[in-house]
């Protein structure tokens, strides 16, 4: 599989590194104009099998290439075959694998600070002010933590599951891992949650469980 990553800042750069090391990716190119010490830079993405794009206006900028896109945005748009490739999508993918998800929560430095309720995430994130938001028809709690770490957590009756890591690292991997869900059928990352979760853990995120429900 040949994957193109349009040059678009740190998230794209981190996703490119994760993709280049993934066994499903045979070739990775950066879609320029750009300079890259590590990868070939091309102007025309039309011979790529997939584009991995980030940012609110990315689908409209790259739809004309006709190459299917993996995107970190929250909903399906023309040309996008996988959406939700983000920490919020990771939270919904985690929830899909749980029997009784009662609370889905995300703390990430890129989110807006919230003064509503507070959720206790695993250390070093700790307590974070959150507000309810809706993604993919599900309600989740999201907020901005102090510091650079991010956490995604799903609490159930019997166990909680979580992923904690550096926020920028998590952003890059959650974007890159969207390629594992791309099989031609348009869907969000939580539409094939097991493939997505396997890909994010193969790329370096660590999933953990706690048998006791946190306070």
């Amino acid at each position: 599989m040949k994957v193109g990553v349009p040059a678009a800042g740190e998230a794209a750069s981190r996703a490119a590194h994760s993709l280049a090391a993934h066994p499903a990716v045979d070739q990775l190119v950066i879609i320029g104009p750009a300079n890259s010490r590590y990868y070939q830079v091309v102007e025309d993405p039309s011979d790529c099998d997939l584009l991995v794009v980030t940012g609110p206006d990315a689908p409209s900028r790259h739809a004309s290439s006709g190459v299917p896109m993996v995107w970190d945005g929250p909903q399906r748009l023309p040309g996008v075959v996988v959406w939700g490739a983000s920490p919020l999508g990771l939270a919904l993918a985690l929830a899909e694998r749980e029997n009784d998800p009662e609370e889905i929560a995300v703390a990430h430095p890129d989110l807006a600070p919230q003064l509503g309720g507070r959720v206790r995430f695993p250390d070093p994130v700790g307590r974070v002010g959150v507000a309810e938001t809706a993604v993919g028809g599900r309600s989740l709690l999201a907020g901005k933590p102090n510091g650079s770490f991010a956490a995604v957590m799903v609490k159930g009756r019997d166990r909680s599951v979580a992923v904690v890591d550096d926020g920028a690292f998590m952003t890059g991997i959650t974007l890159a891992a969207g390629v594992a869900v791309a099989d031609g059928t348009p869907r969000p990352v939580w539409g094939d949650s097991l493939s997505y979760l396997r890909a994010v853990t193969e790329m370096g995120l660590v999933m953990a469980e706690s048998a006791t429900t946190p306070a």
């Binding site: 694998r97 695993p122 097991l194 853990t201 999933m207 953990a208 946190p214 306070a215």
Partner: protein
Amino acid sequence: MKRILILALLALGIAGIVMAARRAGEESAETWTPVQPS
């Protein structure tokens, strides 16, 4: 009357400390173990 008020405030303070300690204890009891997606 003043003594009762002082005792009530003292009791409230102690209750607050006990609640905070209990909550800290619950949080520190939380243990996370790495798992694979399944």
